[in-house]
């Protein structure tokens, strides 16, 4: 301490202090600052270049050469602007096969994914470079392994409150106006579940971290996983879409078989002839 107090009036002290402060700030920043755009190995300029090339081939026809969007044709959007939609959106849209859209329609349906992991990452990096947006979540963000049982039950309540209006109580999907629909959620990967909530594709609202915290999102994911792993208590689920299919089967199996038995019984008996 003597050393410091004796030198504190040294002409170089101010400069040294400034350097030290800057250093500390830099170090702090690197710890505290949000992980940069390049979290999933995106952001390297080479990846972006690859992404741009892929984009020009597969996506630019609808989204414009620079992802700026292509305006509308006959009232329907040919391709919206992708500036600021973020890497998560690309990862979701391309990973579930929705993009590239095969043909204009009410909604881009899921289909087998046409790109490799690296290509998706490149596309995501390119789109992310157009403007800041949600990033691809890391496995620990969406993996529900650590979610407790109470949280899973809470996730069920969150699901029923926020999602079942469109996706049905069992995640079996539902209809939306004008030919649009909320798809069934069976077999959707945890990552895509998370990304869907984060980016709100199409008619689906965005569930930002302010609405559903990452913990809430994990709880929802945990609930859906559990729900779809449950054995079918009570027998065949008959499509699992509720009273409509139950009514149908009540008529077909119930009334149908009983009428069959009735015909059989009425035909049996001591015939006079």
């Amino acid at each position: 301490m003597r050393f410091l107090s004796s030198r504190r009036r040294h002409p170089a002290a101010k400069v040294m202090l400034l350097v030290a402060a800057l250093f500390v700030m830099g170090a702090l920043y690197s710890v505290v600052a949000p992980a940069s755009q390049s979290s999933a190995d995106t952001g390297t300029s080479q990846q972006i270049a690859e992404g741009r090339a892929l984009f020009a081939v597969g996506c630019a026809s609808c989204h414009g050469l620079n992802g700026e969007g292509n305006g509308t044709v006959g009232g329907s959007v040919l391709g919206p602007s992708l500036i600021g939609v973020g890497a998560a959106s690309v990862d979701f849209q391309v990973g579930t096969g929705r993009m590239p859209m095969a043909r204009p329609g009410a909604q881009a349906p899921q289909k087998p994914n046409q790109y490799s992991e690296e290509e998706i990452a490149a596309l995501a990096a390119y789109v992310a470079s157009l403007g800041p947006g949600p990033e691809i979540p890391k496995p620990e963000e969406y993996d529900p392994a650590s979610v407790s049982e109470e949280d899973i039950a809470r996730g069920g309540e969150l699901f029923r409150t926020n999602c079942s209006a469109c996706h049905n109580f069992a995640g079996a999907g539902g209809a939306l106006p004008n030919g649009k629909y909320a798809p069934a959620l069976y077999g959707v990967s945890n990552k895509h579940l998370y990304e869907a909530m984060l980016t709100g594709p199409q008619q689906m609202p965005v569930f930002s971290d302010g609405v559903l915290t990452p913990d809430d999102k994990r709880a929802v994911i945990g609930y859906l996983n559990e729900l779809h792993e449950q054995p079918n208590q009570g027998g065949l689920t008959l499509g699992g879409i509720g009273p409509v299919s139950e009514g149908l089967w009540a008529f077909i199996i119930g009334l149908g078989s009983l009428v069959g038995f009735a015909i059989w019984i009425a035909a049996k008996g001591a015939k006079a002839r």
Binding site: R154, S164, C166, F169, A182, G234, F251, L258, A266
Partner: protein, 603 residues
């Protein structure tokens, strides 16, 4: 439709005489108490008469029994459910064994339904059986009422029993709805909310009625307890009473029967209640029980645990009522959103018309129909022989039109499911149905009527030209034709026994002389209605036509049987109309297929 059909499966007309037998020890032991009871109650005499009551046999007469037996199954399984179910809306924390709901707050009713499903042995089976039986109960009632309608079994003297049936159907809906609401899961709560809307849409007093029913604003905390009382006491008691009256009337009027040889308005051909019919009916009860048990065991129904507890803030996609409320749901879904505000009151046409209006219309029309038809025909006679639906084309067409309309509303109730399952637009389904509920019944009416008249033609064809044999014969000129054989006298009777109501002409002015204007107008209207009803019907062949046909067929049969070695077996075929029933002198006169000019005489 080929060979002459066996028509009536008639039962033995001989009295089954039991040979006098030595009583076994069991019967001997039972004889004492039986005599004791008989001396006091006189049951033997009552039994002797009623046990010999004859019931005709036809599968369609068993539809009502399916309803009866499903109701009994509801009673039995329902009693089991009452032992565990807690009709309370008090909020508790779920501590049962279903993992995905653990720790959630819910009503005691929901929690006890979960307990029934997961923690009580046999509970889930009983719940599912109860629910399947409930669905079947109403489905069978509906099917039964359609049978009664299409065969004209509602005619005098059975109008009252038809009304009892309409009442049973309506009350069955209420019973089912009340039960569906009990578990207090998300769907049943949404259903209650739906009914809450219906109640509120009653003009002027709606809000007051809502407060009365729910003891305050929806959902309140009493409705489950109230519905419970309705569901296990009030309505079952009413249903039981109505069923008893219904069956008593069936007994009293005796059962109707399909037309056939030996069957008249004065007799009933069939089996005696005891032992034959009882054995059949008893056996059928066990079959129904078996089918319901299998359904309850193998097919999931109303999985309340996946719906979650009711929470007024939540509505899920795929919220539907049970099928029997589907038509109301559909009407409300496709109704345009009309509402008006008159002097501080709200008139929700969008709910009142499709909801209250449609149910009122359906049951009102059902109840009124026998009286409407009776007014049109002016028929005051009793009817114990059923109509074949084709012989009253207009009634049949009305029935099918009503079914079609119901079906369209039904589809509307599942419009979202239709949209997702068949990948069509929800709006397209809705717009289509808005038109279809009006247009489809009209089309159905016209098509059904044409089909009925076509079937009447086919009957006449059989009477006049006999039945097709499926034997194709080549004529000497190379023509082909199918050989016909006369139908049996029994069948001919069945095809011709019905009475033909006739369309009435308007009548001249003199006819109405002295008749008060109002009555005259009503009579004119009635006659117009008879024309609408009966004008297009095919008249059955006249006696002369039938005799000529029989003569002609006898000749043909003679030829057909020749087999004279020339390989020129006659080829009797249709198309007699073309040559006006002449040319029989030489035993043919049939046109060769494809060229009516190349007529050739083979003899």
């Amino acid at each position: 439709m080929a060979k002459p059909a066996a028509t009536a499966t008639d039962a033995p007309s001989l009295e089954a005489q039991a040979p006098a037998r030595e009583l076994g020890p069991v019967f001997k032991a039972a004889a004492g108490p039986a005599k004791w009871a008989d001396d006091r109650l006189g049951l033997a005499a009552l039994g002797r008469k009623n046990l010999r009551k004859v019931f005709p046999d036809h599968w369609s007469f068993l539809l009502g029994e399916i309803a009866l037996y499903s109701f009994i199954i509801c009673l039995l399984t329902g009693v089991f459910l009452t032992i565990w179910f807690k009709p309370s809306m008090a909020e508790i924390e779920y501590e049962g064994s279903y993992q995905l709901l653990k720790g959630l707050h819910m009503s005691e009713a929901y929690s006890s339904s979960l307990a029934l499903s997961f923690d009580i042995r046999g509970g889930l089976l009983m719940r599912q059986m109860h629910h399947w039986a409930a669905m079947l109960f109403i489905a069978a009632m509906l099917a039964h009422s359609l049978r009664v309608f299409f065969t004209g079994a509602f005619r005098k003297p059975r109008e009252l029993n038809w009304l009892l049936g309409v009442g049973l159907l309506a009350i069955g809906l209420i019973e089912g709805f009340a039960g569906y609401s009990l578990p207090d899961d998300l769907l049943s709560g949404t259903g209650l909310r739906f009914v809450d809307g219906l109640i509120r849409s009653i003009p002027i007093i709606g809000t007051w009625a809502e407060f009365f029913v729910f003891n305050g604003e929806f959902p309140g905390d009493l409705i489950i307890a109230r519905l419970y009382m309705v569901h296990i006491l009030l309505v079952p008691a009413i249903i039981l009473g109505l069923i008893a009256a219904h069956l008593a009337l069936v007994f009293y009027h005796k059962h109707t029967q399909y037309p056939g040889p030996g069957r008249t308005e004065e007799n009933v051909v069939g089996y005696p209640l005891y032992p034959v019919y009882m054995a059949k009916a008893g056996g059928f009860f066990f079959i129904v029980f078996g089918v319901v048990t299998l359904m309850g065991g193998l097919m999931q129904i109303n999985p309340v645990w996946t719906f979650g507890p009711y929470n007024p803030a939540e509505v899920t996609a795929g919220s539907q009522p049970d099928w029997y409320m589907g038509f109301v749901e559909g009407a409300i879904r496709i109704m345009p959103n009309w509402e008006s505000h008159i002097g501080g009151t709200t008139w929700s046409w969008n709910v009142a018309i499709p909801g209250l209006g449609l149910m009122g219309l359906m049951f009102g029309l059902m109840a009124a129909y026998p009286f409407i038809e009776r007014w049109v025909t002016g028929d005051t006679g009793e009817h114990h022989i059923l109509d074949r639906p084709r012989n009253n084309p207009t009634r049949t067409a009305f029935g099918v039109a009503a079914m079609t309309c119901y079906g369209m509303f039904w589809i509307g109730g599942g419009n979202d499911i239709v949209a997702t399952q068949f990948r069509v637009s929800l709006n397209a389904v809705t717009y289509f149905l808005r038109v279809a509920v009006f247009v489809a019944p009209v089309l159905a009416f016209i098509i059904t009527k044409r089909i009925c008249i076509g079937l009447q033609r086919a009957d006449a064809e059989r009477l006049l030209h006999g039945a097709e044999t499926g034997i194709i014969v080549r004529g000497p000129s190379g023509s082909y034709g199918e050989r016909h054989v006369p139908i049996s006298a029994d069948e001919a009777f069945t095809l011709t026994q019905h009475v033909e109501p006739l369309p009435l002409t308007d009548g001249s002015e003199e006819e109405y002389a002295g008749v008060p204007a109002k009555e005259a107008r009503s009579e004119r209207l009635r006659r117009k209605a008879t024309r609408f009803y009966f004008q297009d019907n095919l008249r059955k062949p006249s006696r002369a036509e039938l005799e000529a046909a029989a003569h002609h067929q006898a000749l043909e049969a003679g030829h057909g049987g020749h087999g004279d070695g020339h390989g020129d077996g006659q080829a009797p075929r249709h198309g007699h109309e073309d040559n006006g029933h002449d040319g029989h002198g030489n035993g043919n006169g049939h046109h060769a297929i494809g060229s009516s000019e190349s007529e050739s005489s083979t003899h």
